[in-house]
Symmetry: C2
Subunit: 338 residues, 2 copies
């Protein structure tokens, strides 16, 4: 049985382990500071496909395959796969994982999807609803730009607060690991929708920061812990603007995050040289970093206890055109390794 502690936090008592992980990125991401961490990359932004959307589907399949291979399971042993992406009707996921033949649970959480999917997959394994579950998500700069902003051919200018959608995908395989050597998910906190009225869709970091602060605050309260109790607190993806706001919002709550926090949106690219505005974003950003760099640090013994919180902006081009503000949602998982 899962156990609830405090208002929001769920403790997984059976320690669902991350036994497989896989990551794939595009050329620009490979040229960034984490380039060598990813399992594979492609210089072709279409990944051999005819369209950017099909390329994104291919990203998901490649990441999932790598995670399955690393977990050393057969794909038909996977009981459930949680997946989502940024595309309308989440076609990156449905077409990407169509060939897998595994029960498919579609998610939509914008950039919060990786934590959402990993949390749900972990709970399913913890409670016995699945023996092996997986979570995967993706984003693609070119498919996102043309859907959310403008077709690339327009060459439109970007504001300094705007974030750069990462071309990438990350996948995890979760199961109870008999010998217990892999990292496991111990706690989960799902976040509520938070909307403080930010309406600038080129400043999503500002829109998401309040939801990140809300979920983190709930988690600290529920567990009676603070920033200093964790090796690192990862968010994804607040970028430079949202990160600063998160620090200020958490200061107000009495928590100083500054020495204990990294944002995946600020890790993916060289912020000085790669011209990415306020940093990376997209479901694939935190997903590909979790399924590479973060997992590598666990495997190498650098980490024993981290928080991973994905943050999503639940807007659409239609809601923006209709004058709506931007709701945010953030989900958190606590990953440990003995």
């Amino acid at each position: 049985m899962a156990k609830r502690v405090g208002n929001r936090t769920i403790i997984l008592q059976n320690h669902p382990h991350i036994t497989g992980y896989g990551s794939v990125v595009g050329k620009k991401e490979h040229e960034g500071p984490l380039g060598k961490e990813f399992d594979s990359f492609s210089v072709d932004s279409r990944f051999g496909e005819k369209t950017f959307e099909k390329a994104e589907s291919r990203l998901q399949m490649l990441a999932a395959q790598k995670a399955i291979e690393r977990a050393d399971v057969r794909k038909n042993e996977i009981d459930l796969i949680f997946a989502g992406d940024l595309l309308n009707q989440c076609i990156g996921s449905s077409f990407g994982l169509r060939e897998l033949g595994v029960p498919f649970l579609g998610l939509y959480g914008a950039c919060s999807t990786m934590a959402l999917g990993t949390a749900l997959a972990s709970i399913m394994v913890d409670c016995g609803a699945a023996k092996i579950a997986a979570a995967v998500t993706s984003s693609h700069f070119c498919s996102a730009e043309r859907q959310y902003r403008f077709p690339l051919e327009y060459g439109s200018q970007r504001t300094p607060t705007s974030q750069w959608t990462v071309t990438g995908s990350g996948a995890l395989v979760i199961q109870i690991d008999e010998n217990g050597s892999s990292p496991y998910i111990e706690k989960v906190t799902f976040g509520e929708i938070t909307d403080l009225g930010v309406t600038d869709s080129n400043n999503m970091g500002a829109a998401m920061a309040p939801s990140a602060a809300s979920t983190l605050k709930h988690f600290f309260h529920d567990t009676s812990t603070g920033p200093e109790d964790y090796d690192v607190i990862y968010t994804g993806d607040l970028g430079s603007v949202g990160t600063q706001l998160l620090y200020e919002l958490m200061d107000d709550e009495g928590y100083n995050l500054r020495c204990h926090h990294s944002d995946c949106g600020l890790m993916m690219f060289d912020m000085k040289k790669q011209n990415v505005g306020a940093g990376g974003s997209g479901c694939g950003c935190s997903a590909s970093i979790l399924a590479s760099f973060i997992m590598h640090r666990f495997m190498e013994g650098d980490f024993h206890n981290i928080l991973f919180m994905s943050t999503g902006a639940l807007l659409s081009p239609t809601s923006t055109q209709q004058g709506e503000s931007i709701p945010g949602v953030s989900h958190l998982i606590n990953i440990k390794k003995d």
Copy 2:
């Protein structure tokens, strides 16, 4: 602990109960044969809002409020809410439930969303990850037409195999019910993505039928039961074309569904008089019927053991334009009342 049986089916041993349910529909749905079953309706297709999208958000909030009221809980007692809809980036859900202040888990399963959300909410309650969970979904004819087909003002013609998106929303509240008088979810089978190559987005029944047959076949195998063991098997929404195909596909497997099956898409409207092509569709169709008519039959003692399977077509206008076929997914829940 949940228990797995056979390849795909999950047994919930703690009997998460449906203690609250709420439904809201539009004018045309209220004029249909189930009109009196719904909690409320509006003759204004904008439900007092400025746009169809905001109307859809309002539908979700109204249905959720009614379900919460009927469950006799306070909204801040709800630990998790699962929600999704057909709109790009699921804005019907995120904006509809923004004010609720409840941890929000976004789903995308097209018309399969109600079974997906109810199944996940039930598992969460069963395993103790939530004490009270909720599931809600919606669709709106006008927002769907303009997003998936043409703006209504074009007055475009419809093919006879096309389905009519239901304006409606249904919500359920799930919790362990101490006195045990309400219906409960006992089994869940999540479906895989099935794609037999149908490319006609005006014939989604045909695209979804193979996935419905796949999930149902798995469930029957896993549980060693057949159609005759259930009061009714509900699907939503195959319409007239998809229903016929489901019968034929299940015949091939040795199961005769004809006397044990109803499709929500064929129940919502008067198929002779209301000019809805092959029947109703949309996440809100099966959701509003589950949260009204089906729940009423349970409460009145007519039903003791049913299957409810929502079927989704995982296409987008972009995937259709890119020549892709239409993947389907179907999730099933077994609802019982002692």
